[in-house]
């Protein structure tokens, strides 16, 4: 039986046939605004709230206050309390980039990781993390080493990835091959606003639904709709191509 980590996101765990594989690394890709950070906030928050699993949230994009505001605006009222009592450990951009150097905070982070106290980790974003390495070979080597360190220390990880193109098929980076799971968040503009979709393209060791499912972001975070046929991704007038 494969150890599964539930995201706690309505609909997503069903697509994933129970959840994300435990001690694995999953890449969450999408355009800016597609909901990557929201999915990650939910993953960490639900871990504490429903499963008594502590989490580490690394953000190169935001600081602690922004994250808390974002969480609270989604209805995760106890985010601040969890950060306060240590159930959620936040490394925000100010801490991570202190002294212009990620390496001093990496020491602290590696200590936390090796503590075995935490079960979930978010890296927002992998795109920023990779800037600390010089070339493709280094990026590849250190992404593998980092995911290995996370895995061996019992952490189930989500990493976000900035995606330039609307359709993920057009741009598949090395990161997609080097991670255990790939989740794409897709948004397409419509006359009335934006349609959102989620596509789980890959999850090692799991039998998953690989269709594209509609989702929405509202109070309570992301909700994925199971009924794919009710929303047609490729309806003539809305096709983004």
């Amino acid at each position: 039986m494969i150890d599964t980590t539930r995201t706690g996101i309505d609909g997503l765990d069903e697509i994933l046939n129970g959840g994300i594989v435990g001690n694995s690394t999953t890449l969450v890709s999408g355009n800016p605004g597609a909901g990557k950070s929201i999915l990650c906030l939910q993953f960490i928050y639900n871990g504490v709230e429903d499963h008594d699993e502590k989490g580490i949230y690394l953000s190169f994009e935001e600081d602690t206050e922004d994250l808390q505001e974002a969480a609270e605006s989604l209805g995760f009222e106890r985010w601040g309390d969890y950060v306060e009592n240590g159930d959620i450990k936040v490394y925000d951009k100010q801490e991570l980039l202190r002294e212009n150097d990620f390496s001093s905070s990496l020491d602290l982070l590696l200590d936390d990781i090796e503590d075995a106290e935490y079960d979930r980790l978010v890296l927002d974003s992998l795109t920023m993390f990779e800037l600390f390495f010089e070339d493709e070979t280094e990026k590849r080597t250190y992404l593998l080493k980092f995911t290995d360190i996370l895995k061996k220390n019992g952490l189930t990880t989500l990493m976000t990835n900035e995606q330039g193109a609307v359709f993920p098929e057009t741009e598949i980076g090395l990161e997609n091959y080097l991670t255990d799971g790939n989740i794409y968040l897709i948004q397409t503009p419509t006359e009335s606003g934006v349609n959102r979709y989620v596509w789980v393209a890959k999850m090692r060791k799991k039998n998953i639904e690989t269709d594209i499912f509609p989702m929405e972001i509202s109070q309570g975070g992301i909700r994925v709709h199971q009924n794919a046929s009710a929303f047609s991704m490729m309806s003539e007038d809305e096709s983004p191509l």
């Binding site: 990620f102 001093s104 020491d107 390495f133 280094e138 250190y142 080493k145 290995d148 360190i149 061996k152």
Partner: protein
Amino acid sequence: MASVDILQTLGNKYSAEILDATDEPQSAQELSDELEIPIATCYRRIDELTEHDLLELHDNILSDDRRRIKVYRRNVETIHVDFDESLTVSVEERSGVANKLDEAWRTLSES
């Protein structure tokens, strides 16, 4: 006077060559053979450079005849010497991020 110390260490015969050669980890013997440095001098230079954090002990590897061999890697990318106002020598270290991940990963595979 740390700045002057660093410059003196760098100025010693073979120091620059050793740093140049230790992009990848090397043992004292390898450096001595490769750069034609007398082995005693080689050890002395390695000690001096390590003391000033310009070179670091990277690992203790096992040789073919099952002895532990110390290998060293340079710890520095660039050095700036600035004479404006007062003499300052600033040492830009190699990416600490890569070094630390290497180290954590190595401990992982040993345990």
